[in-house]
């Protein structure tokens, strides 16, 4: 479906109630349970909230009753809103804001229930894609653990309050000129909010304002300040067909516009169109970017400046690049000895940078010191890189660490009487050495607005329920400044209010509803007669044109550069880490980010891209270091950093830098909710203002206790036999070749296929009409898990929990297979470094599907359009099909996984997909519900289905567009063309199962032309192994 069909998205119409509401007695019960404080019978006439709750949950229940049908009621509108056809999904453009950057999305709403978030093609940071985290935001909306009421905590007592109570008490709390009044808030780019903030600070001139984010790009910002004399926002570009060097940087994951960057990255990697960029990565722990690197060197984070400095040195010394006088200091011999690996990396990179001047870029990770960013900025300047700059939206803002430091100082001084905390969770995520929690207890009046009654709320006097992003009005700015609107898709389920509204209330503004605030603010910018049209268009598109910031071409400011150079020198002198004095790197988690999504089942169960660990964070340690310290995979270890120490399970990860261990933040929550409580360990307890990201001198001690990490793939460490076999198979399953080899011989991906001719016993079936197929480009897949969550959201896939995952019963229909590629001949206990390849694996819809023939009740059959259909309501659950599936992509409902689901959570269900009962097999069917929807529509107006009209959830959300779906019988369709490409191959084709999904081989573009040629050599090995067998 093309995004944003409904032209007539007017303000207050869309969230009105739905057509058919099957209301059952059980459901009334459910409502009472869910919403104790309002009795069904005394419903105020058609209040939106009641209605939404009712219809949403009820529909979901309808989805669940899969047996003989009970007496059902049909409850139509009393007044059906104009332009509204009940039962037909609608799509609305809105946005979500994280760390002060708004990400545009289009949310599908079914009869008033937002059920799925997709990317907004018009938004520069989305381009139609959405990250796993952003998609999972929908589930958070319905989270039954979200706080439902205002709480006042006084003298150990806890009172339930109403907003009116708060408004009343707020009057005195926010009295006078704001002396003793402090505000701590999340970073926000919302123009409306800055307006309201100004109004607030006007009202309370003495009030202090602090913005804190645990994870931010402040270092980069400060780096630019050092180089250019003013903070700038850095806009990397990856679409250049040149060379990109990432130093601890992961632009494909942790950058606010990672989705755009991923799209650019993929664009630069299509050999058929001559695009072949080269990616260098030097990092301490495997990142999504690192996985895709052509040259990767695993070095401790504290070595990054050293290597970068060497690159600078080489550029000047070997390649005669002129540094400006002020930066001359960089040119000097770095005085550090580099390992052979590091040197080779530096040399290759230096010469490539020199060759690709104007077509390259050096990116540095946000956890690196400003001085390192500074050096990168200088080099980018002199090399004329593709990096662009815009002015920082808020140049006077102190860094987040500074901000919270100031606040804590004030709290210590006792000068804070009233502390208003808008969002965030400082008690949990403020640097440990600040002891924020304790100090908070001493503040007379502390108010926390939050989705959950979380760690911070529990230490505040007031807790205010916050409206979810999909429940509230707002706006924000994309990374490039594009004005992004946010509109609610559902009235607040839990009586929450947005930060905007609360702030406006505190500021004593006359208009305090989000709708008015946002509309007025935008209206203020447009001096046009017909603002209404502008407004509608803005809501419809989700973005307002012409508001992106101008790029600036800054000049080096000599004054500060000196500081930068000295800063760098200091870093260079640091001793490299060893197994005894380890370096501990605290990273943002690929799933719960900084911990705010800890209570989100989808994200908790998404396997981490590299470790495949779910429901936990683990201490990543390189095999070498593990051997030095005698630590086993999965052993509980004690990490000592400074005076703090915690216990965490160790995960041995090849490709992790020696002497560097890393641990993800965001776990070990104590007040996250039923899902997120006590999952993993809390790394924030090790985090200090001095060393927020990279802690040196950490010690590691094994405890000998084992801990079972719930991974969806077996660990790297398995028995030798399996290890060797796995190495043999990787090459044939995930085919890879060097770009040079491929260009020289396009057949390289098929060279090693030899199996007897694939003849069928029977006459082949004639497949006429549409024949659906898929192509997945392994060269552009970055393993970001977006498709996994998209599929989960679209297909009502249950979350099963850690215990079940431990027992290999995870339910996601797509899994991203991760293989380590190590030098042949090495034993598993000799490995230290490794390359990683990803392969998204879901049902490939075999034409000769082994699963179909063995089902005794014909519950899985082949449809005339070539799908391997799975009929849930016919399945008796023999599991024979799963046994006989060579890809093991079928999933089984071992229990009734929906039994304990809250009614609100059920509201997320997609009514177009059956909710599977216990004892039933399920799997991917190329989103058959989407196919049917389009097919019926096309047939209704007697037209053929256009290529690209049907888009499965996974393909829709893929940031790199690695997944292509379409009609294989149409030679013009994109998918047919991709299947024609030389890189295209079918996995396990030798079984003559004829998969409908084909993979496009992966390419490596190394400077030395190296990289494996073809897909490794399993046969020679096989024969050798054959002898062994004899």
């Amino acid at each position: 479906m093309p995004p944003m069909k409904s032209e007539d998205t007017t303000g207050p119409v869309y969230w009105r109630s739905l057509e058919e509401l099957q209301r059952t007695p059980e459901f009334r019960e459910a409502v009472k349970r869910e919403f104790p404080n309002d009795a069904w019978d005394q419903l105020p006439p058609a209040t939106r909230r009641q209605f939404l709750k009712v219809m949403g949950a009820s529909l979901a229940m309808a989805g669940l009753t899969a047996c003989r049908w009970p007496k059902e009621e049909i409850v139509p509108f009393a007044h059906r809103p104009e332009g509204r056809t009940p039962g037909v999904p609608e799509r609305f453009a809105t946005s979500m804001e994280m760390d002060g950057v708004a990400l545009g999305m289009v949310v599908t709403s079914y009869d008033g229930r937002p059920i799925k978030a997709e990317g907004n093609e018009l938004h520069p940071d989305s381009l139609g894609a959405l990250s796993a985290i952003a998609q999972a935001d929908v589930l958070q909306l319905y989270d039954p653990d979200r706080s439902r009421r205002l709480l006042l905590r006084e003298g150990g007592q806890q009172y339930v309050k109403q907003w009116s109570d708060f408004e009343a008490s707020a009057v005195e709390d926010f009295g006078g000129d704001g002396t003793g009044l402090a505000v701590l808030t999340e970073r926000s780019s919302s123009p409306t909010r800055s307006l309201v903030r100004d109004r607030f600070l006007d009202t309370y001139p003495k009030a202090s304002w602090h913005e804190y984010e645990p994870i931010s790009r402040d270092n980069e910002r400060e780096g630019t300040r050092l180089v250019f004399g003013r903070p700038l926002r850095v806009h990397p570009k990856l679409d250049a067909v040149g060379v990109v060097a990432c130093f601890d940087a992961d632009p494909l994951f942790d950058h606010p516009s990672s989705l755009r960057l991923a799209r650019e990255f993929a664009g630069a990697r299509h050999p058929e169109s001559g695009a072949g960029a080269r990616l260098y990565v030097a990092e301490s722990s495997f990142s999504l970017t690192g996985v895709r690197a052509d040259h990767r060197v695993a070095i401790a984070s504290s070595r990054v400046p050293v290597v970068l400095a060497r690159v600078a040195h080489l550029l000047v010394a070997e390649h005669h690049i002129e540094l400006p006088a002020a930066a001359a200091g960089y040119a000097g011999e770095a005085g550090q000895t580099l390992s052979g690996e590091e040197t080779r990396f530096a040399e290759h990179l230096a010469s490539d940078l020199a060759n690709f001047q104007g077509g390259g870029a050096i990116l540095v990770g946000h956890q690196q010191q400003p001085a390192v960013h500074a050096l990168a900025a200088v080099l980018n300047q002199v090399l004329g890189s593709t990096v662009e700059y815009t002015a920082d939206p808020d140049p006077d803002r102190p860094t987040h660490l500074q901000a919270i430091n100031d606040l804590v100082a004030a709290m210590r001084a006792g000068s804070v009487q009233t502390l208003l905390i808008l969002g965030g969770n400082p008690v949990y995520n403020a640097p440990a050495d600040l002891r924020f929690g304790e100090l908070l207890g001493e503040v007379p009046v502390s108010i926390h607005l939050s989705l959950y009654d979380d760690e911070t709320s529990q230490r505040c006097t007031w807790h205010l329920p916050r409206a979810h992003g999909l429940e509230s009005w707002g706006d924000g700015r994309a990374w490039d400044g594009t004005w992004t609107t946010r509109q609610p898709l559902i009235a607040p389920l839990y009586d929450g209010r947005s930060a905007l509204e609360v702030l406006a209330l505190a500021a004593g503004m006359e208009h305090t509803t989000g709708y008015e605030l946002v509309r007025d603010n935008l209206g203020g910018r447009f001096r046009v007669l017909d603002f209404d049209t502008v407004w509608r268009r803005a809501l419809h598109n989700g973005v307002v044109g012409g508001f992106a910031w101008e790029t600036v071409s800054p000049r080096l400011s000599p004054g500060r550069l000196a500081v930068a150079v000295d800063g760098l020198r200091a870093l260079l002198d640091a001793a490299p880490p060893t197994s005894e004095r380890l370096e501990l790197v605290l990273t943002a988690d690929s799933r719960v980010w900084d911990g705010r999504f800890a209570n989100n089942g989808w994200l908790q169960e998404v396997p981490d891209a590299l470790t495949k660990v779910t429901w936990d964070n683990a201490l990543l340690i390189s095999p070498g270091t593990a051997r030095d310290l005698g630590i086993d995979d999965g052993e509980m270890v004690v990490i000592e950093a400074g005076e703090a120490s915690i216990e965490a399970p160790a995960f041995v990860l090849p490709g992790q830098a020696r002497g560097s261990v890393s641990l993800a933040l965001g776990y070990g929550r104590t007040a996250a909710g039923q899902v997120g409580n006590d999952v993993g360990v809390n790394a924030y307890t090790l985090r200090t203002t001095a060393a927020p990201h990279v802690i040196s001198g950490a010690k590691l001690r094994g405890t000998g206790r084992k801990y079972a990490l719930a991974t969806t793939q077996d660990h790297f460490a398995i028995d030798t036999l399996g290890f060797e076999e796995r190495n043999l198979r990787v090459g044939t399953l995930v085919r890879e070749a060097s770009l040079d080899a491929y260009l020289a011989n396009p057949e390289v991906f098929h060279e090693h296929e030899h199996h007897p001719p694939l003849i069928s016993l029977w006459k082949d079936q004639a497949y006429e009409g549409e024949q659906w197929g898929m192509a997945i480009d392994l060269n552009t897949c970055i393993g970001c898990n977006a498709c996994v969550v998209a599929c989960q959201a679209e297909n009502n896939i249950p979350v099963v929990g850690r215990e079940q995952v431990l027992n290999q019963r995870e339910m996601q229909w797509i899994r991203i297979d991760r293989y380590f590629k190590t030098e042949p001949g090495l034993r598993s206990d000799e490995i230290d470094d490794a390359e990683v390849v990803f392969q998204p694996m879901t049902c490939v819809q075999c034409e000769n599907a082994p699963c179909e023939q063995v089902c005794p009740v014909a519950a899985t059959q082949h449809t005339t359009d070539g799908l391997n259909a799975m009929v849930y309501n016919r399945c008796v659950g023999t599991r024979y099909c799963s046994n006989n599936c060579p890809f093991k992509v079928r999933r089984f409902n071992f229990f009734n996984y929906h039994k304990d689901l809250a009614d609100t959570t059920m509201m997320q269900f997609n009514p177009e997909v059956t909710v599977r009962a216990r004892g039933v097999m399920e799997k991917c069917t190329f989103c058959t519900q989407r196919i049917e929807a389009v097919r019926i529509g096309a047939r209704n107006d007697n037209r053929p289905i256009a290529d690209g009209e049907i888009v499965p959830a996974c393909a829709q959300t893929c940031p790199t567009q690695a997944i292509t779906f379409g009609n294989l019988n149409d030679p013009e369709s994109k998918v047919s063309k991709l299947h024609e490409e030389k890189r295209s191959y079918a996995t396990l084709a030798e079984l003559n199962i004829r998969p409908r999904t084909q993979y496009l081989g992966r390419l490596k573009n190394r400077a030395d032309g190296g990289g494996d040629v073809g897909h490794g050599a399993p046969h020679g090995e096989a024969d050798g192994r054959g002898k062994e067998t004899a």
């Binding site: 036999l721 076999e725 297979d817 082994p850 089902c855 005794p856 799963s882 060579p886 062994e1028 067998t1029």
Partner: protein
């Protein structure tokens, strides 16, 4: 007389292989009546001995455990077992194949040995047939309960329905339904039919009205008429002729469940003969395991003689070596085929995570039977009994290795796994033994556990009292000779 010659060897030992004389199949000085006495006596004793009660109490309580587990399973979901992806079949299917295998001895002994004119079968066939039926009952439970939605299991049968749907006859599981169903029915018929004359004996000896009526109805008014015997014999022969291919087909079909799939380690053409051999192997082992204590306890050594045991041990030796051959063939083919997946599967069996199961299997099934080469050992009932139990263990592990180790590591290394049974798995398995023994104990208590009519048929007295004809079975009715007398 040659009879003396035999007896002089020893009173009970009839294992001698003197080609000059046909060894006696009933030893001691038994006449028809004493046989009747011995066999019917067991059924007729007013109350069963203590040991029986003890055994029955144990067995029936295990049966309760079985039903408890099934109840829990049905109400909670198959997740209570250790199953997962990739290993979608675990204990349930292993037990199914195990029990079906055991269920082969009975029909085999009654049918094939009958066709081969192996007269020594007469003392043990009833017993073995009973065992077959009970084993099949146990086997039948597992495919039934292992499905995710038991309440829809009837969809496996071709019943007309409002969905206008039919089961998929291309699925081996459906073949199973028919094969096992047929096998159960035919075994039951065979067993019952053979019992009719003996039930009549009990009827005719009845001391109480109730007993008379019960056995009277069961024996359908059999009046040992020779015109009836004539048809009876024919029917028996026909059933034997039908049951023989059937017994071979059943385990072949069971093996198709695996052979027809594409899983390395399953997709093998030698499975049918391999499975059948294994079935006979395990079946005989189970017969021996049961018969040794029973015959001792009920004093039937004169009817179920040392020779019977010895013959069975020889069959076990033979089939055990067939199974061993199958194991090695699999390995050879895995290498010879050049199919790397196949090759790995077998390496993995022997040296992978499930090596322990594999080597248990090899030890019990291939090495243990080798002791039967030694006459001394195979004629020592204790040794024989222990060996037979080990063989049962080994055969269970064979099925475990085939089902679990093949599934646990198939094509994509990313979906490899390791299957661990849960307590419920184990209890259900033990429970099935409870059910088996409960039925068995009821059988020895209430039904003639030895085919008297057949045993009498092979006793010397059953034939013309004429030198040279002593103990000689076949009479080919040369009535002319009689007329002369």
């Amino acid at each position: 007389m040659s009879e003396a010659a035999i007896d002089s060897v020893s009173y009970l030992d009839n294992t001698g292989d003197d080609p000059a004389v046909r060894a006696r199949l009933v030893v001691g000085d038994n006449d028809f009546h004493s046989v009747t006495e011995k066999v019917c006596g067991i059924v007729e004793q007013p109350r069963p001995p203590k040991m029986w009660w003890v055994a029955f109490a144990a067995a029936s309580s295990l049966t309760l455990v079985l039903f408890a587990c099934i109840g829990y399973l049905v109400t909670t979901g198959v997740g209570v077992w250790g199953l997962q992806v990739p290993v979608g079949w675990g204990y349930a299917i292993v037990n199914f194949v195990f029990w079906v295998g055991i269920g082969h001895a009975g029909t085999l002994i009654s049918a094939i040995l009958f066709l081969l004119r192996q007269r020594w079968r007469t003392s043990i066939n009833r017993f073995a047939e009973a065992m077959t039926i009970f084993a099949v009952v146990c086997a039948g439970i597992f495919p039934g309960i292992h499905v995710g939605r038991i309440w829809f299991a009837y969809w496996l049968f071709p019943i007309p329905n409002q969905m206008s749907m039919w089961p998929n006859f291309r699925s081996p599981l459906l073949w199973d339904v028919f094969a096992v169903g047929t096998y159960a029915t035919v075994s039951l018929l065979f067993w019952y039919m053979g019992m009719i004359p003996d039930l009549a004996s009990i009827r005719d000896r009845a001391k109480t009205k109730l007993r008379f009526y019960i056995y009277g109805v069961l024996s359908l008014g059999w009046r040992s008429s020779n015109r009836h015997w004539h048809r009876f014999e024919f029917a028996y022969l026909l059933l034997a002729a039908l049951a023989t291919p059937l017994v071979l087909s059943v385990h072949s079909v069971v093996s198709f469940d695996f052979a027809v799939s594409i899983m390395p380690g399953w997709h093998t053409t030698i499975f049918p003969p391999y499975f059948v051999a294994g079935a006979i192997f395990s079946g005989f082992a189970m017969v021996v395991t049961l018969i040794i204590p029973t015959r001792k306890y009920f004093g039937l050594e004169e009817i179920i003689t040392a020779r019977h045991l010895e013959n069975m041990s020889k069959i076990m030796l033979a089939t055990g070596m067939m199974v061993g051959l199958a194991y090695s063939t699999e390995f050879f083919i895995a290498w010879y085929s050049g199919n790397t997946y196949e090759a790995f599967t077998f390496l993995n069996r022997a040296f992978g995570p499930y090596a322990w199961a594999y080597w248990t299997m090899v030890t019990c099934n291939v090495l243990v039977p080798q002791i039967f080469w030694a006459r001394k050992l195979r004629n020592n009932t204790v040794v024989l009994w222990v060996a037979s139990i080990l063989i049962n263990v080994g055969m269970w592990f064979e099925r475990f290795v085939i089902v679990v180790s093949s599934l646990s590591r198939d094509y994509l290394p990313t979906s490899w796994g390791y299957y661990r049974p849960t307590a419920i798995d184990v209890l259900t398995f033990l429970g099935s033994f409870g059910l088996f023994f409960t039925l068995f104990l009821l059988f020895v208590r209430f039904l003639p556990m030895i085919g008297m009519a057949e045993v009498k048929g092979v006793m010397p007295q059953a034939h013309l009292d004429r030198p040279g004809h002593r103990g000689h079975g076949d009479y080919h009715g040369d009535i002319a000779g009689v007329e002369v007398v």
